[in-house]
Subunit: 302 residues, 2 copies
């Protein structure tokens, strides 16, 4: 496990170096306050799991790692925008995230909304600008823009956010929670893996397996997130817990209890790991990441 | 002038047919409330000048009009998102736009923010999905995504919005107003024209001239917008006037008075028209659109 932690730490560093390199290029002529606000939230990043997934998938399939990092940067921009908007008073109204004040608490609502808008838009500039890539083909570059925009648009992440709000304090079924989680979280994690596969191989069977892997661990990730809100520790998480229940959110634990939710998350991860058996030894890291997606639960307790 | 009005009306209809065709495809699996909110603002559209510019530039240069309409749809999605976010309480706090309640007054702030996010994201799905195009090359498709994302991101439209807020009730110079207007408005209008040119020709001199044309009329458009807020008629505009002064916005009239502002807008349009002299007879419509960009001032008065 030590090795794996070292791996995550090292890739996080490699990724963040590239993230701020690209950030500086992209925002070179932006107003100071906008740059600060965007950077504030980019710096507040967690483990960078999404870009690391793109990277590790490419690594396992022998793809170009420079290009994987570029795509990872765009994905992290998008993930960061979603957190900024999600925290707004009109949305989840959170004052803290990862132990720091949320963007709008520091920069005000107007700048926070605009910083989110800019991160989302700039993500597509990163994805479409060939200067940020080494060897990707135009066709694959376009395909990845299509996949990512689909994963986070009106039938993806934004749909999930809308459903999340709609079902607050309403009766909900397992199917509805599934739909929220798939859209809100799983699709972007799926897209992170899928992009890594697309730049690395033309084998559609392999690509499909990686896609399934991503979707399954993505869904388990959100289930675990829900669980952490019930059984997690405020200090380790850097945010308040118990908020979901307070707000009557449609979550897995609320729907089927803690034990059953853990079971489902573990089952998803074990299915995900089966999908990447074709990678053999090369799939070891991805397998560990999948485990990590559920084991976070107990890790936080130590 | 009758002919030109007919032209605008006809192109508006052609464009809107395609807009809602594409909208229905893109949002087929979106939550109902999100779809309604997005559609509400798309339907509240004005003259559709940006997509018509893409169309008319392509028409003048013999480009594929189907593809021009696709790009126009994405641009209108982006323009619409910017209006929804701009109207939010944390931003300009407007209750009405074009005579109708603003999005957040109808759907609430959370859904309005998300509808804006979805429109912006879906714009890039439209631009990257080959099903929406007839003959554009992958290379040009990517180029257009790059141009548009640049025009509206952290060094484009969003930068303009941020500066617009920063300079409220502050001392400002003409250079600063220029910078706000260029970013807030001119760059997207420039990109609308430029995209039409790119899909229609490989002649870089022609493309450059069309770009200049777009930028100049784009800047004049914002100056006229500022003027309408001072001398326009509330009923014809469908929104309150005098708001800029009330809020201490950095505008042309506030900077150099009404007459001088009119003069600059007219000069820009006349320079823009010079840029497209190379089109000869085929540039007639673009020339009329350029005139229309400033003549709106007096038109509203009748």
């Amino acid at each position: 496990m030590q090795d794996f932690n070292e791996y995550l730490k090292e890739k996080k560093e490699i990724f963040e170096k590239r993230l701020f390199e690209i950030f500086d290029v992209v925002t070179e002529n932006s107003p100071e306050i906008l740059k600060k606000s965007m950077r504030y939230s980019l710096e507040a990043g967690g483990k960078r799991l999404r870009p690391i997934l793109t990277y590790s998938v490419s690594e396992a399939l022998g793809g170009n790692l420079h290009d994987a990092l570029t795509i990872g940067c765009a994905i992290e921009f998008i993930h960061t925008y979603s957190l900024i908007h999600d925290d707004l008073p009109a949305m989840d109204n959170d004052d803290y995230r990862r132990g720091r004040l949320t963007n709008h608490k520091v920069f005000g609502e107007a700048v926070a909304i605009l910083a989110g808008d800019a991160l989302l838009t700039d993500a597509f500039f990163i994805l479409s600008n060939s200067d940020f890539y080494e060897e990707i083909s135009k066709e694959k570059q376009l395909k990845i823009i299509e996949i990512i925009s689909k994963a986070v648009g009106s039938t993806g992440m934004v749909a999930g956010q809308v459903l999340d709000i709609i079902f607050e304090n309403k009766f909900f079924t397992k199917d509805e929670v599934d739909k929220i989680h798939q859209n809100k979280t799983a699709k972007l994690i799926e897209a992170s893996c899928l992009s890594g596969a697309i730049i690395s191989t033309n084998d559609s069977m392999k690509i499909e397996k990686i896609r399934n892997f991503g979707f399954k661990i993505g869904l388990s990730f959100q289930i675990v997130d829900d669980l952490l809100d019930v059984i997690g520790d405020e200090k380790s998480l850097g945010k308040k817990v118990g908020k979901d229940m307070e707000k009557g959110k449609a979550t897995y634990p609320a729907c089927m209890g803690v034990e059953k939710s853990k079971e489902i998350a573990e089952k998803l991860v074990s299915e995900a790991k089966k999908e990447i058996e074709f990678l053999g030894e090369k799939g070891k890291i991805l397998s560990s990441i999948a485990d990590f997606f559920v084991k976070r639960v107990s890790w936080w307790e130590f």
